[in-house]
Symmetry: D2
Subunit: 308 residues, 4 copies
Amino acid sequence: MSLPDEFHDLAQRVNNWGRWGADDEIGTLNLITDEVVREAAATVRAGLRVPLALPLQQDGVQSGLVPGRINPLHTMVQINQELFGPGTVATSDDSAVLSLQTATHWDALTHASHSGRIYNGRPADTITAHEGARFSGIGTMPPVVSRGVLLDVARAHGVDRLPGGHAVTPEDLEAAEELAGVRVRAGDVVLVRTGQVRVYLAGDKNGYGYPSPGLSIRTPEWFRARDVAAVANDTLTFEIFPPEIEDLWLGVHALDLVEMGMPQGQNWNLEALSTACADRARYAFLLSAMPEPFTGATGTPVAPVAVL
Amino acid sequence: MSLPDEFHDLAQRVNNWGRWGADDEIGTLNLITDEVVREAAATVRAGLRVPLALPLQQDGVQSGLVPGRINPLHTMVQINQELFGPGTVATSDDSAVLSLQTATHWDALTHASHSGRIYNGRPADTITAHEGARFSGIGTMPPVVSRGVLLDVARAHGVDRLPGGHAVTPEDLEAAEELAGVRVRAGDVVLVRTGQVRVYLAGDKNGYGYPSPGLSIRTPEWFRARDVAAVANDTLTFEIFPPEIEDLWLGVHALDLVEMGMPQGQNWNLEALSTACADRARYAFLLSAMPEPFTGATGTPVAPVAVL
Amino acid sequence: MSLPDEFHDLAQRVNNWGRWGADDEIGTLNLITDEVVREAAATVRAGLRVPLALPLQQDGVQSGLVPGRINPLHTMVQINQELFGPGTVATSDDSAVLSLQTATHWDALTHASHSGRIYNGRPADTITAHEGARFSGIGTMPPVVSRGVLLDVARAHGVDRLPGGHAVTPEDLEAAEELAGVRVRAGDVVLVRTGQVRVYLAGDKNGYGYPSPGLSIRTPEWFRARDVAAVANDTLTFEIFPPEIEDLWLGVHALDLVEMGMPQGQNWNLEALSTACADRARYAFLLSAMPEPFTGATGTPVAPVAVL
Amino acid sequence: MSLPDEFHDLAQRVNNWGRWGADDEIGTLNLITDEVVREAAATVRAGLRVPLALPLQQDGVQSGLVPGRINPLHTMVQINQELFGPGTVATSDDSAVLSLQTATHWDALTHASHSGRIYNGRPADTITAHEGARFSGIGTMPPVVSRGVLLDVARAHGVDRLPGGHAVTPEDLEAAEELAGVRVRAGDVVLVRTGQVRVYLAGDKNGYGYPSPGLSIRTPEWFRARDVAAVANDTLTFEIFPPEIEDLWLGVHALDLVEMGMPQGQNWNLEALSTACADRARYAFLLSAMPEPFTGATGTPVAPVAVL
């Protein structure tokens, strides 16, 4: 099997290899300049903070659909342990086992590869069991603090949640932009709301993962045209699943991560943000979504916060 | 053994139990109001982002000093796996085993207890192996976005690093405040720099942990007077270790976490921030330091970022 | 809620506290004497080895029924890593996250407690997050090598598998003994086959766990009368689940582990052994079922082998 | 760098590829026949059971010498949890994070590769992050129950422990055989005692690992001549470390595992066995050393037991 011609056409149009030099490891995060950050800080009006992460717990979004990806297992290592003798101050300590892509997360650019290549044309086999990702791992990501823009596609469609077969198109994004009254520009982090996370929040893990609305194979070109820094949404798979084009699985991943060098976020809970933005009729905000700096990792949990 | 009278006197002076109601679980984080956040956003001038987390890796700060606390173990679960057949888009996935207090972290209020009590007077045995912390766990923490203030005690002393036996006193904090040209106020997150993390960065894990400069037993009262929201520093133990008062181990933990209900941060790398602040002669900034929402946990890794 | 009178009557009849001294931690494993082992070795006729463990893998028996108990997650830490330079000998290393009671396992005596007590009358709170089980943990178990006897209850009933609601009674055990042509005696390790593991082997994890045939609350007295050293079977819950007596959950666990001090084994795959024994009309054999010596643990994976 | 000619000469002399067919995955474990097992059972005289595993605990043999290999982390998931309500029977559950080669273990044949090949000439890249070892993983190992023979080289030399620079030679093995009064034969599992584990037992982890006595590059040929089924010893590295031949690191691993297809065991505690054998002047016994069946793994903890 090989990737269809349509994929290669799109790849060519969105490709950013070499754009920031042959040594670049961070792709579109280069677009978050000091000026972008200054303007992002200036969007803060109310001082309201809206957290966007799902809880990290055994009862998480993983249902067995993705092989080897498990829900977080949290265990206590010490409970009220009086380490220095009876009657002294006690401490509790804990540990966790964590699939790095388990819940609300960023994909590193190295989370996907195709045709033996990762972002910027490096060989895919620079990812090893010993080192993880030698290039473009999570540990190399700069701080992700920028202007966030919510593109509330579900709300623009007048629904709580897009149906399972809905591929979010550039036209959908522009309708949501119009609803938002804000134009997406270079360096923005775009949050695309489908409402799909409501299925998980209502207790149906299997229904959450599949079938799922998600981004269309046509969206990477739109993100490339606007030069956004990163995109996240509220689904397990990010892109529509199963895919629009037969046998083109994970095509959006390949275009965003490998070709464009743009990080993706998944399983972000955008429900409270949707309400907060609608209430204020303001869809741009300061967003902080810091990767946990796991050396060599291809993904990271993230606890994003929007400050309105 | 029992806690000395001196401890109980201090406890009474800093105690916040009931201050935000009998049901409160978040303590001094109540002090981060919308207004505080608006003013924090307004401190951003340059748009510079300074990350404050140490890498999460096997070669981390844990040396075996703290029982059961291990350095992060990162492993690849899939490497360039063509899940949908040969020639298709490939993905890489990873997992990690993580002591939640292993590297740059927040202590939940429940990380410490004494005399059978946690913050707000609840029984310590509400922390169990099954649930973790039923109250005041990491999962209940609100977003930590506020004004950050660097109190660069090492720089105020004209040294790269305070010596191992140096207990940082309220007078030290005020000298650093003077250097900073900013007055700490309600809702601030205070970052206290000792320079001790340089020992770890230079490759000496054992020397990093012990002996270590750190906060004096007299500082909680100062933080209480200023009503700060949280305090973090660049040491393994937060407080001076071994302690100033014989047999009063972890007294600062007990005062801050249990009595005052104020979260503590440890192993924060404040070196780059120290330079950035000194270069600009500005020591106040927007700080985002979001807890990863592990349900029931008593600690969390954090990837803080200062935006100047 | 308190345990019913019927439970306390049974408890009194099977109780072994103090039988091997106040300091004893190993209960009925004391019954495996050198002589028992010599006779066990003498049962070997064919030299045939039948392994009894299920594979340790993500696709294991855990379905979410037992809170916090997960299937094994195996990950590669190194793959063909040439640690000493290109062209040198390469090694591969792996790690696993393992619920100790996840698949084929022994329960330590401390796996259960009731009324605040563990085996031999010790307080249950000697099990802590810091140390695990201070007494009667897996690390204190002596080698489990003895005569094994298969009581093939399913075969004695002429079925492949007992139905979900079948509580295996002392009468069932005696019928199986008759089929086996061997009398269970002191120090034996008894393997009770229900055939239930066939449900898991056929791919139905949920059906495997619940409802499940299993040992009746009346069996501990029979095991006590015969002075067996340990009992294992081929179910997730060991005892019939849901239980025979309303509101007496895990009563067999409490009688066997706490009162009698007799280890239990679960999720043993007895299918091949059933065939091997029937083919030879021999149901007694040498059994080796060594606990992995996790210090302080309340359970352990085990890879038992019957040698016929 | 490439492997020296001397290595290739030895490899040719010990190679077993194809000996048990092109499809074989288990190598010399084929030599454990029913007859060997019958004779092994017949060696049991006293009924004495000697366990050979080190405890699995945080304070284990790993010192950081081997990258990514950590000591076991044991944590409680439930402690005396009354799952069915207050006053009901309570249970305790635990989990562990385990490097599969961490303490007393078997290496699978796939633990080593060289020149792109694993045992029986299969490509080394059949080991992947997704599946682990597709061939010759731990999950394919048959039961390891056979005659064990202790070759007590330290005792034959009249010392408690061989010095760090001592490479155990075929002549050493034959001297130990003479002391034992038993001739090693096909299908035996040979345990070679150097006494090195005493360094760890005395509390010196660093000294245990390096420098270490161990098997000489000349021993594989001797094991091949005797057609032993497997070999284990009481060191971290199995072979002498650093190696006898400059730049030939892990040469014994490559000869035993890759060329001969013979499993190796490391970190076996042979101290009690040494005494037991010397006391009885009997060095042959029944050995059970069952791998835990981790699917696709390249190593496994093992809790071996010698029955004398």
